[in-house]
Amino acid sequence: MASVLERVVAVTARVLRLDPAEIRPEHSFAADLGAESVQSIELVAMFEEEFGIDMDEQEALSVETVGAAAEYIAGVCRKQGIPTEP
């Protein structure tokens, strides 16, 4: 099973139509990857779908980088009892 970060990268690449190999943990969704306002919301929605979780809108939208998103999602999964590791 892929790691949380790998799954975050895969979703990000799909939503923003990027090559996954170009996406790094330190990349900012908006400044580096060019996510526009509605794309940020689509990313959150797709992360919810991918991980089967519910995220707080304000908290989720305030996460800026790919790495921070992976950390935040891992935390939400733990709180909601969703397994993320093999």
Partner: protein, 468 residues
């Protein structure tokens, strides 16, 4: 001017001060005063206590059927009865909209008046409007009215150029003959001082009013003359220090305090030629004139009159209380007037279709967080009109989310967030970015797309009712 500079230290806070004593949200923002106002009149400082307006018996009077009707094809009696009934609801039991005036010349005028009175509403009281012609009092008497307006034009433009009097004295004598005829007929005359803001105040208006007051002292109080100050061309100015004849404060002062016309017998009638119509009317209230004459949605001769619904909201703001007014009648009146062909612009305050509709996504974001941020007061409670968004390319996901929540009627914790609405937000953006659309998206289109893209919520919230 003296140096007024001083230091202003920050008052730091960790909790917001929403100033709810001024902006109660359940009411229009209150109009509060810090202290007296001084106006220099004839070289002397004169103090005015605006705060006293809270306790003074100020009222709104209506001229929708007279000045309002002069600016459009005639209303049918059916239409007038419906409008009158809604005005009565707006007025409330205390009679905030105290009077409305009717033409008396045609069979249709009389039918409308009789049918309105037959409704049995206490307010607005029905009064008449006639020319300053002695014979016209027969019409007032036949209609059984206690009061009628009559034209007593004041400026030399009217006295000499329109009415062709040989002198001011001849003019006053003629007007006073008609006033005497009114007394004789047992009808209270309301002298409409036409074009007063272009008249010679000291040379004509004040001597005329002195004479009217002297005549009034000879008759019972119920017949004593009322004075309507008609700013016929919209020349009136509320600015402190403005000179006569254009100064609203000085006009009111001179009639009220120098001529001794009681406040309850003074009325202001404005026109909007210079965009000052509502402010001038409110100024008249503050300086001692108890009645403000207005028309629904400001519709009247040329640029119109003080908007009646604006005056009612000003009244509530000054009093700090609804005073029995049913403000939701404004919305019904607007719907009815639109239905019978009166154009009310979409952005028209309090009654336009879009008066509390935002198109900006950033404002919609604010509305989602706290409606008070971008709504002037509780428009749902007072006007039956919750704040809304019009969906365009500027609405953003916040605007779409606000629309969806309003559409499903969701409040509080039930409301959906942007994440749940992302598919619809994407569709909206694609309409403009990919489809090249230039027009707003209608509620009907959005409803259809909501059904398609959010079927689970449609099922949950809309199965009991058809699409909006």
């Amino acid at each position: 001017m003296a140096d007024a500079r001083k230091h202003h230290p920050l008052v730091d806070a960790t909790e917001p001060n929403l100033m709810e004593d001024v902006f109660p949200y359940s009411l229009p923002p209150r109009i509060l005063f810090d202290g007296p106002v001084v106006e220099v009149i004839d070289g002397r400082p004169v103090e005015f206590d605006f705060g006293s307006v809270r306790h003074r018996p100020i009222v709104v009077t209506d001229t929708t059927f007279r000045d309002g009707q002069q600016a459009r094809p005639p209303y049918t009696p059916d239409q007038m009865v419906r409008i009158y009934d809604l005005l009565a609801r707006l007025s409330g039991p205390q009679g905030v909209v105290r009077q409305t005036e009717f033409f008396l010349y045609t069979r249709s005028d009389r039918e409308a008046l009789d049918r309105c009175r037959a409704l049995g509403r206490r307010y607005p009281e029905c009064t008449g409007w006639i020319r300053a012609v002695k014979g016209d009092f027969r019409l007032v008497r036949e209609a059984g009215l206690a009061e009628t307006g009559m034209l007593t034009s004041c400026s030399d433009y009217h006295i000499f150029r329109k009415l062709n009097f040989p002198s001011r004295k001849a003019c006053i004598d003629s007007y006073c003959e008609v006033v005497a005829a009114a007394f004789e007929a047992g009808v209270r005359p309301r002298c409409h001082m036409e074009d007063v803001t272009r008249a010679d105040i000291d040379g004509f208006v004040l001597p005329f009013v002195d004479r009217l007051m002297a005549m009034s002292r000879q008759v019972p109080e119920r017949l004593s003359v009322k004075i309507r100050l008609c700013d016929t061309m919209g020349f009136g100015l509320g600015h402190p220090g403005a000179a006569l004849p254009r100064s609203v404060p000085k006009l009111i002062y001179k009639l009220n305090r120098e001529c001794g016309v009681p406040s309850e017998r003074l009325e202001w009638h404005g026109h909007n030629d210079f965009h000052k119509v509502h402010a001038n009317a409110a100024t008249a209230w503050l300086y001692g004139c108890d009645a403000v004459n207005a028309t629904l949605f400001g519709f009247g001769e040329r640029t119109g009159n003080p908007p009646l619904e604006g005056a009612v909201f000003e009244y509530i703001a000054l009093k700090g209380d609804l005073c029995g007014v049913d403000t939701t009648a404004v919305t019904e009146l607007a719907e009815y007037m639109r239905a019978i062909g009166l154009p009310i612009p979409d952005n028209y305050p309090l009654a336009g279709r879009a008066f509390n509709v935002t198109r900006a996504g950033i404002h919609a974001g604010g509305l989602r967080q706290d409606e008070r941020i971008y709504n002037i007061f509780d428009t749902e409670r007072l006007l039956g009109r919750p704040p809304r968004v019009a969906i365009t390319d500027k609405s953003g996901a916040d605007g779409v989310t606000l629309w969806v929540n309003a559409f499903f009627g969701l409040k509080g914790q039930e409301r959906l967030n942007k994440i749940r609405v992302h598919k619809l937000a994407r569709w909206v953006i694609d309409q403009y970015e990919l489809g090249g659309r230039l027009t707003p998206i209608s509620d009907e289109e959005l409803a259809e797309k909501t059904r398609e893209l959010m079927p689970e919520y449609w099922q949950k919230y809309k199965t009991a009712s058809p699409p909006a």
